[in-house]
Symmetry: C3
Subunit: 340 residues, 3 copies
């Protein structure tokens, strides 16, 4: 349950997204809650059939749902063929804060060569080095560090303790969560008689518009060319993006994924949590990779791909685990039996 | 080997945990060391049979061990049926520092609406925003950022560069290590004709008492309800806890585990390093998951569960790896042979 | 493509690494670029056969390559049996910046008991606590925190927002990237009737010379003895190194690897991205582990080791996935058939 920043009634809410509604148009709501916990004057939504039993008995005053589920809902409804999307829009509208007024904290250290947009908020203990360009309506929370020559587009927000290396470019309407590191050196090393020599990482990172990057995700700068994240990409927490990776428009990647150097991921892909993608691969547009799969070859065809083995009680699993070592031999024995 | 903050003799040490001892009661110790490296006047313990040979020849002046191993130990002993636990208590007692006196660094920025407890230490470059409540005996190390309305219970410590988002609650006696992010937005997105719309993350994070959170672990805020970590939970480094996860009392989770959204983990579970837990699952109390297993279904019964395949020399492994693609066909061929 | 900090001609570049060259000795270059994108007056290299077609048509003015490929290259060349290593050295030479002059930011908080070397750069909002020793030519970027008694060797660089706990030692010529945490408590807990008691972590972390540590990597302090990273080790991003791990000289570890407590990794090993290494294991010198493998036993022999299953389209994969649960039974059925 959460507080909202503006009051609205059923008709106003439905109108805000151009949707139809059923029920008393003047019903007002004062909070958002789940179907299970919602009380009178609270708004909820039904988008996952797992919660069907909760829908039947919800005490919410308004529920956003698919027209097909209208009949079983005990309360007022807003109808949408895509109720989760409708909820996202209404919740955004209800919780929008009035943009705070510009404020530059006295403890922020900003080089006098920085080009600063209008209406920016720069919080305490922020460091912005020489040659940075900060767009309009940008918010940079406490403890962030922008090294020299970083560019930040309009309406972008950096949460506390983000680190951005020299020369990185971020687009507009991006959201960068705490602990994110962008532009660190790629892992480039060359062997000289058993010792490793560092290969200078001379590229940068270019991040498009409307990109969200989750907490503690790391994105390395390119070795020569740039690492590129296109418009509309959504990255969850603790993702590792190596040098010269290219991620196409509107691709979404769940937490803890690692992408090795120089791999190209297409547009509108979905990569499940904990997956690994080896280096120098190409993944076509629209590919789905399920959680913790390892991608060892390029994928040229849209589709859903997986690897891995099932969870079992350890005693049973261990028997199968051991047999995996014999799998090729077992296959050969079957072939031999077939020839008898 | 490490310095200790108070001197004690064999009798005092044994008495401090109510244990029996063998040997010269006035033997004093001035440091803690492993069985292998310990010298005269040093304390050690024997809790892992792997180090049995070291026990037989240790030069330590005092060893904490199980009564069954008393006979083979060449030196003074403190006897406990749980020697590792006894060591933990004695080492804590020996290394306790006198609580430093309250100190608020001049470079810390603390909103004048913050309610500050007694005897707090707030280090340099810390930011504490409006409406925060800080308990008694709290220590907040350099570079931490507490956004507005954060609550921190008594005797809790935050190590350097921790980021806590708006509205998060931490209990008493918690230890939060560097780089931890608590309360970042959950990964909530809705698709609108190929583009992704952000779903506002309106819940918060509630963390109980005596919770320890390892370096660079991330815990997202709930979408509507809260993400919850109950009392006594111990999280290692680089764990990802997604929105609306609920972790039950006294559960321990090793490093690099990822837990997807809305999953509920029971009390007193143990999750091995690198494991992945998919979303919307329920895991019963007392379940053990071994390292790097992937949990794809709810687990309703206490027990030990695993997935994965064994490590082999790559040339051998590759033969079996390829055969995995044929596993269903091999099984069908065996069935066919059986019918002949 | 990237700017360079000094101009040089073909002969000077070849001489700088003692290599031979072919072509016009006075050809100058003003930038470094990939074979594919290079233009006139730009330097490139050919070290990966994947880019052979690009070599044949490159517009670069100078290409570093193996003598065997000299004949097909359409432009001036620098010849080396190890062209990637030669490129690393030349690129380093071309992009070296003149060491900035010493500068201590006015917002840096440095205890008056710190021993500070010559020619150091300490950026804004840095905290350096009592008893630290900082070598010559050290650079510490904004937002870093060094707790008490940390030692940093000569010529070492810390990027923004690094956190180093009490008593940690770093060698010379190290590079520590943003978000790294060194010296956090190891995950030591002892069970007392269902509750977990913290075991004090009394060791420290000792890091050798020429070690590079990638963004958001975490290295825990030892329980009693130290965690040790030897000279020349290269760690990528988001690696977790648990307490009392020992990593031998010149070993390289790719991103997202987790190493559990007290494991010892030999010299000159290579660990692929996302691999997991269980605790208390020993891995011999020169071992290679492929990406996302799980190491469950000690490895006593140099070689390449792997685990895991192949990626497939999910519908096919699922059939094999299910069969894995029957693998032991299938093997027994084959044995039975063979006995008929």
């Amino acid at each position: 349950m959460s507080s909202i920043t503006r009051k609205a009634n059923l008709k106003e809410l439905a109108d805000s997204i151009g949707a139809e509604f059923c029920g008393e148009p003047l019903t007002t709501i004062s909070a958002i809650a789940t179907l299970e916990r919602a009380q009178k004057n609270e708004l909820s939504f039904f988008a996952n059939r797992k919660y069907y039993q909760c829908l039947l008995v919800t005490k919410a005053s308004i529920v956003i749902l698919h027209p097909d589920d209208q009949a079983v809902c005990p309360t007022n409804t807003i109808l949408s063929p895509e109720p989760y999307l409708a909820y996202a829009k209404i919740a955004t509208w209800l919780t929008q804060s009035n943009k705070q007024q510009s404020k530059i904290a006295s403890t922020a250290i900003i080089s006098n060569t920085v080009m600063m947009g209008n209406n920016t908020i720069i919080a305490d203990h922020v460091t912005i080095e020489s040659g940075c360009k900060i767009g309009n309506n940008v918010t940079i929370h406490a403890g962030c560090v922008l090294s020299d020559s970083v560019t930040i587009g309009d309406d972008t927000t950096l949460y506390p303790n983000v680190s951005i290396y020299s020369g990185v470019t971020l687009g507009s309407e991006c959201i960068i969560h705490s602990g994110v590191v962008i532009g660190s050196d790629g892992f480039g090393i060359a062997n000289e008689q058993g010792k490793w020599i560092k290969v200078p990482q001379l590229g940068s990172v270019i991040i498009g518009n409307r990109v969200e990057i989750g907490a503690n995700t790391t994105i390395d700068r390119g070795a020569i060319d740039n690492t590129i994240i296109e418009d509309g990409v959504k990255l969850d927490n603790q993702i590792q993006v190596a040098h010269n990776v290219h991620i196409g428009e509107n691709t979404v990647i769940a937490g803890c994924v690692g992408i090795a150097g120089s791999s190209t991921i297409g547009k509108s892909c979905a990569i499940g949590g904990g997956a690994g993608i080896l280096g120098h691969l190409t993944i076509a547009d629209g590919v789905h990779i399920t959680a913790t799969s390892l991608v060892t070859k390029s994928i040229h065809k849209t589709g859903i791909y997986s690897s891995g083995t099932p969870l079992q009680e350890s005693s049973l699993w261990h028997k199968n685990f051991v047999r995996f070592k014999q799998l090729d031999k077992i296959a050969r024995r079957v072939t031999k039996l077939e020839k008898i």
